[in-house]
């Protein structure tokens, strides 16, 4: 393997571990992050000439540790007794796997602490666990680089000022805290899958890919958790459809019209395996597991006409009990339209008008149902509202064409 590829691979596989190890030792996210970045910069410089070291991860950890100590000395923090004692430690040999995994879990939970704003949790997780650079994260969320830098800096300062603990939460707090971590990962994935910017690609694979990579990591760290498995399955089954989802002309293709031959069979197989694995446990599923099961039913149908809509509606009924939000009710109505007809679905959708009036998918769903019921003028008005509210370029293109087709009839 050449040096550049070795650096890239080590970065992908070991960044979180190096940052976590340094954070534990120095008790400071800032120092850990900067030292890890310095160490990788040194590797980029040295490995092409000196060759790739036999244990790249250990080489980088040792180098990063030296950089951190240099920085603490440089900044004259020697009066800080805690840091002083940490600096006196010998270079600790690589720890056994169990303890390493524990380190990365701590990093996840610290970055997703509930006292941080949700957008800060996303940014911090992508930086500290994902190893994305600040400019990369800023580009991903269409924020200026300086603003993103400030957001991350502020989050790290809050962690330090409040002594937000660097640990995996106690068993009693774990479910709530883990759901926060999963929410961050799902947010990253969704922003990639239905990108909201007018100037961005409709699907941002760098974001969906990163979300899947981090979810795989947390799955490796918490293999027994059903919701972690459910979220990973949900992401894989969604990602499997990405190439069929946007037409060559940049228009959104709905599930009904997608070329199913273009779906990624490997991702679907892996997603189905996870869903079956969860079903086999017999444990009551959470939200992500039910969403994954719904997607498993969709992706099991070779042709849209073979879709088992009654099973999908039954799964949505289960989801409504877990998450009685109007958005879940809206998605249930879409499935009901296939099972009981668009008139039944429209009645259910119209009951949500008070809560979802500002949500583009509400108007898009109404527009489609009204179109199918032959209520042209009302459908056109609903398309207009959906177009005004939609942020995704491919979706806007699709809705506009649908509306204009109505106009020419």
């Amino acid at each position: 393997m050449n040096a550049a590829a070795a650096v890239a691979r080590t970065h992908r596989e070991q960044w979180a571990w190096i940052v976590a190890t340094l954070t534990k030792r120095f008790g400071d996210l800032d120092i850990a992050e900067e030292a890890a970045a310095d160490a990788f910069a040194t590797a980029v410089e040295k490995w092409p000439a000196d060759g790739v070291p036999p244990n790249p991860g250990a080489w980088l950890t040792t180098t990063a540790t030296r950089k951190a100590i240099d920085r603490i000395r440089r900044e004259g923090k020697r009066d800080d007794k805690q840091r002083e004692s940490l600096m006196l430690h010998d270079d600790t040999p690589p720890e056994p796997t169990g303890a390493i995994d524990d380190e990365r879990l701590r990093l996840f939970f610290t970055c997703c602490h509930p006292a941080l704003a949700p957008e800060s949790r996303v940014a911090l997780t992508l930086r500290m666990v994902g190893g994305l650079t600040v400019p990369e994260i800023a580009r991903a969320f269409l924020v200026r680089e300086t603003a993103m830098e400030q957001r991350i800096t502020r989050a790290k300062a809050k962690i330090k000022a409040n002594r937000i603990p660097y640990r995996v939460p106690a068993a009693e707090d774990l479910p709530v805290r883990l759901s926060g971590v999963l929410a961050v990962l799902f947010l990253v994935f969704n922003e990639g899958y239905l990108a909201t910017g007018p100037g961005t690609d409709p699907v941002r694979r760098e974001l969906t890919g990163e979300a899947i990579r981090l979810t795989r990591l947390i799955r490796a760290l918490m293999p027994g958790d059903g919701e972690v498995a459910g979220l990973l399955a949900l992401m894989l089954l969604t990602e499997a459809r990405h190439t069929a989802r946007v037409s060559a002309g940049g228009e959104l293709v709905t599930l009904t019209d997608q070329d199913r031959g273009a779906w990624d069979t490997a991702l679907i197989a892996e997603g189905h395996r996870l869903v079956r694995e969860r079903l086999a446990t017999g444990e009551a599923p959470g939200r992500y597991q039910v969403l994954a099961a719904i997607n498993a039913v969709h992706t099991s149908a070779r042709d849209v006409r073979d879709t088992d809509w009654s099973q999908i509606v039954a799964l949505y009924d289960q989801l409504v009990r877990l998450d009685p939000s109007p958005i879940v009710a809206l998605n249930r109505a879409v499935a009901v339209a296939e099972l009981d007809g668009p008139d039944v679905a429209l009645a259910a959708v119209d009951r949500l008008s008070g809560k979802l009036a500002g949500y583009h998918a509400f108007h898009a769903t109404r527009a489609d149902l009204l179109r199918r019921l032959g209520r042209g003028p009302e459908a056109r008005a609903a398309y207009d509202q959906a177009i005004t509210l939609a942020g995704n370029t491919a979706e806007t293109a699709y809705l506009t064409r649908r509306r204009d087709q109505l106009a020419t009839r």
Binding site: H113, A115, R163, P165, P169, D173
Partner: protein, 107 residues
Amino acid sequence: MRFFVSVIHDKANSGTPEEMAAIDAFNETLVAGGHWVFAGGLAGPDTATVIDGRDGPALFTDGPFVETKEFVAGFWVWEAPDLDVALKLAAAGSQACNRRLEVRPFL
């Protein structure tokens, strides 16, 4: 480390007997857990005076330094090892006094 915990409300000295009893009970758990440092209720913002002595003779102004509907109606000072402990106490404290709380660390 110490945390300053503000009780946020739109009325001063408005605790009901039930709330006062719940606060007393909560305070006892604070003392028992070694978290208690200090606490007090504050009179309303209409009793405040702002003093500005930055440019020579002090200037006294009647009223609070910032006009808002909600204000700091009281406060605690807690001793806690980290934010997670403080947040757990704050969740119980908010329930006891039936008010929102703000937690901030001392420097």
